[in-house]
C-alpha cells in the first residue's frame, strides 16, 4: 500500500528514511554445516557484500550478536580483509537484529564509520542447541537460574508457555487457530528453494504432532539449523549508488521491555507482550500504522509468538490474534502475508535476521523464488502462489519486522521501498 498522502517523507525526525539496507546475504540453511561459525560468517558476508555491489574496502563497521555460541567480528573482518573503524559483538538472540540496525544508524550518524554490516553466525543444530540440550544443559545451575532451570523450566518453549497458556485462558484462543501460523509459513516455505522444511502442512498436521510442553506441539516449534546471515546498512545518500531499488528504514525500536524485566511475569497481564510498549515508539516514528503495512516479518520461534506480536503491535484487536492468524490474512495472497520465506518455523533459524532479509527482497520486488527470469535478467513474478511457485507480495511498499527475545522484550523495524 502506498504511504498516506500526509506522510512527510523528507522529515529528518528520528532519522526517518535517512538510512537504508543495501545488501543482504546468507549461507544455506542446513543441519550439519561442516564448518565453524567463522566459516559461516564469512560466507554470509561475502554474499551480502556481493549483493550490495560493494567491495570489502567499502565496509568499515561491523556488529554481531550471539549468546556464547559464535565467532567475533575481528575474525570475520580479518578473513575478508576488512579494516574496521567500528565494531561491537553484543550478547543476545532474538530481538537483536532490529536493535542493532538502530545502533548502526547511530554510529554512522555520529561519524564513527560509514557502512556497517550486521551478522549472525550459528551452528544451531551441530554445536550449541538453542533448545537447551547438549552443552547448554550441562552448565551448573547458579544465581538467577536457581529460580528457573532448577524447575525444569529452561528452554524457550518452556519459559514462554506460561504466556501462551494465559492468552488461551484470557481470550479463548484455540490450538487450531494458532496452528494456522505453521500452515501459512509452510505454504510460503514451499515456494522458497532455500527453506529447510519445504513441505506444506495443515492445521490438522500441527495438532496431531506430539506435545512438547503444553500448549506447544512439535510443529508449533521452529527448526534448529546451522547458518549465517548478514545485512549491510549505510546512509540513504550513499545507497543511491546501489544495485537495487533502495530499501529505506522508517523506524526502529530496539529491545523494548515490559516492567520487571528481570522476571516479567511479576507484571501482568502476562498474556500481553512487549510489543504493547514497542508500538508506541515504532508507529509514531515510522509515520505509518499497521494498516499501511503490506507484509510482516514476525519472530516465529513458535506459532504463538507470531500471534502475540501481530496482536500487540496492533494488526488486530487485543485478544483477536487467534482469528487474525487463521483467517487467511497472513498467507500469501492474503491482505498482509507474514514471514513469506517460511521464517524460523520452516526456512531456518538465525535469531530474527532471515525475516529482515526476506522483507528487503520483498521491497525490492525481487524475492528469490522459482519464477523465471525475463530478458532483463530479473525475475518475472507470476503471483501464482501454488506449491513451488511465486512468493512475491504484490505491490509491496511497506513492511514491518517484529523481533522477539521473550514475552517481555521485543524489537521492531519498519522499512519502505523508495
Amino acid at each position: 500500500m502506498p504511504l498516506p498522502a500526509d506522510t512527510d517523507t523528507s522529515s529528518p525526525r528520528y532519522l526517518r528514511d535517512k538510512y537504508a539496507i543495501v545488501g543482504v546475504g546468507e549461507t544455506t540453511y542446513t543441519r550439519g554445516s561442516g564448518m565453524t561459525t567463522r566459516g559461516l560468517g564469512t560466507w554470509a558476508l561475502r554474499n551480502a557484500i556481493a549483493d550490495a555491489g560493494l567491495e570489502a574496502s567499502d565496509i568499515d563497521g561491523m556488529l554481531s550478536y550471539q549468546s556464547g555460541d559464535s565467532t567475533f567480528s575481528p575474525f570475520i573482518a580479518g578473513d575478508l580483509g576488512i579494516r574496521l573503524n567500528f565494531y561491537m559483538d553484543v550478547f543476545g538472540g532474538g530481538s537483536s537484529t532490529e536493535a542493532l540496525v538502530g545502533m548502526a544508524m547511530g554510529v554512522i550518524e555520529a561519524g564513527m564509520c560509514k557502512t556497517v554490516v550486521i551478522f549472525r553466525a550459528m551452528n544451531g543444530f551441530s554445536q550449541v542447541r538453542i533448545g537447551g540440550t547438549g552443552a547448554r544443559s550441562a552448565v551448573p545451575v547458579a544465581g538467577e537460574m536457581l529460580h528457573n532451570r532448577a524447575y525444569g523450566w529452561q528452554s524457550a518453549g518452556q519459559l514462554f508457555s506460561l504466556t501462551f497458556m494465559r492468552h488461551m485462558h484470557d481470550y479463548g484462543t484455540t490450538p487450531a487457530q494458532v496452528a494456522g501460523v505453521r500452515s501459512a509459513h509452510s505454504m510460503h516455505a514451499s515456494n522458497n528453494p532455500k527453506a529447510y522444511y519445504k513441505q506444506r502442512v495443515t492445521v490438522e498436521d500441527v495438532l496431531a504432532s506430539r506435545v512438547i510442553c503444553k500448549p506447544l506441539h512439535l510443529l508449533d516449534c521452529c527448526v534448529e539449523t546451522d547458518n549465517a546471515t548478514a545485512i549491510i546498512i549505510t546512509s540513504a545518500d550513499r545507497a543511491k549508488d546501489g544495485r537495487h531499488p533502495r530499501v529505506l528504514i522508517r523506524a526502529v525500536a530496539g529491545r523494548v521491555c515490559k516492567p520487571r524485566i528481570d522476571m516479567h511475569y511479576q507484571h501482568g497481564p502476562i498474556s500481553t507482550v512487549a510489543g504493547k510498549y514497542a508500538r508506541e515508539i515504532l508507529w509514531p516514528n515510522a509515520g505509518v500504522g499497521p494498516e499501511d503495512v503490506d507484509a510482516t516479518g514476525s519472530y516465529d520461534a513458535f506459532t504463538f509468538t507470531t500471534m502475540l506480536q501481530l496482536e500487540d503491535y496492533g494488526f488486530c484487536k487485543k485478544g483477536e490474534g487467534g482469528q487474525y492468524v487463521s483467517d487467511g490474512t497472513i498467507r500469501l495472497g492474503g491482505r498482509r502475508p507474514n514471514n513469506t520465506s517460511g521464517g524460523h518455523l520452516c526456512e531456518g533459524y538465525t535469531h530474527g535476521m532471515n525475516m529482515v532479509i526476506e522483507n528487503v527482497r520483498q521491497l525490492r520486488h525481487d524475492v528469490d523464488d522459482s519464477c523465471p527470469a525475463g530478458p532483463d535478467g530479473k525475475r518475472k513474478h507470476t503471483y501464482d502462489y501454488k506449491e513451488g511457485g511465486c512468493r512475491q507480495v504484490k505491490r509491496c511498499e511497506v513492511t514491518a519486522n517484529l523481533g522477539w527475545a521473550m514475552p517481555g522484550t521485543g524489537s521492531a523495524m519498519v522499512m519502505r521501498r523508495d
Binding site: 533448545g131 537447551g132 540440550t133 544443559s137 551448573p140 545451575v141 547458579a142 544465581g143 538467577e144 536457581l146 529460580h147 528457573n148 532451570r149 532448577a150 524447575y151 525444569g152 523450566w153 529452561q154 528452554s155 518452556q158 508457555s161 506460561l162 504466556t163 497458556m165 494465559r166 488461551m168 485462558h169 484455540t174 490450538p175 495438532l207 506430539r210 506435545v211 512438547i212 510442553c213 503444553k214 500448549p215 516492567p259 520487571r260 528481570d262 522476571m263 511475569y265 511479576q266 507484571h267 501482568g268 497481564p269 502476562i270
Partner: protein, 173 residues
Amino acid sequence: MPIRADYLGMSLSLDDLDVENLAYFKHCAQHNFRLQQCEDCKLLRYPPTTACPWCMAAKAKWTPVEGKGAVHSYTEVHHAIQPAFKAHTPYMVLLVDLDTQKGKPSSEEALRVVGNLASPDGKLAPPEMVKRVGIGTRVRMVFADLAPGLALPQWTIDEAATQPEKPWRYPQE
C-alpha cells in the same frame, strides 16, 4: 565455600557472593518462606533482587510470607530437556499468584512464584495429580530439601482449601 547440591542430574550451586539467594534459600531450607520487604515502601518482592523495583531503596528485611495462592498460569512438560527430568514427565511448572500483596501496587501485579507441582514431600507430582491442576487451582507451598542451606520451594494442591469447580486446563485433551 559455595553450597552445592545434585538435583535431578543438575549441579546446583549457591555462590558465596550471592547474598540475596543465600538468604532466600536458607529460609527455604528452614521451611520458612521469606521474601525481601523494602524498608522504605514496605512492598514485598520476588524473586530476590538487589534493590526495590518500586522505589530503588537498597535496604530490605526478609519477612515471612504465607505460602498460599492460586495458579495464574502453567505449562505441562512432556518432552523434557534435562535428562533426569525425562523420568518425571509430564511435569508441571506453575506460576502462582500469592494471596499476599495480590493486586498491589497496581491491579496487574502480584507476587508470582514459580515452582513445580509436587507431592507434599516436595517430589515432582505423579501424573494423576497433574491432571487435577489448572489455572485457578489453590495450592500451598512445600519444600524439596536438597542440601543444608538449600531447599527449593514447590507447590502442592491445597487439599484444605475450597477449589474452583473446574480449573482451566489446556483445551485439547
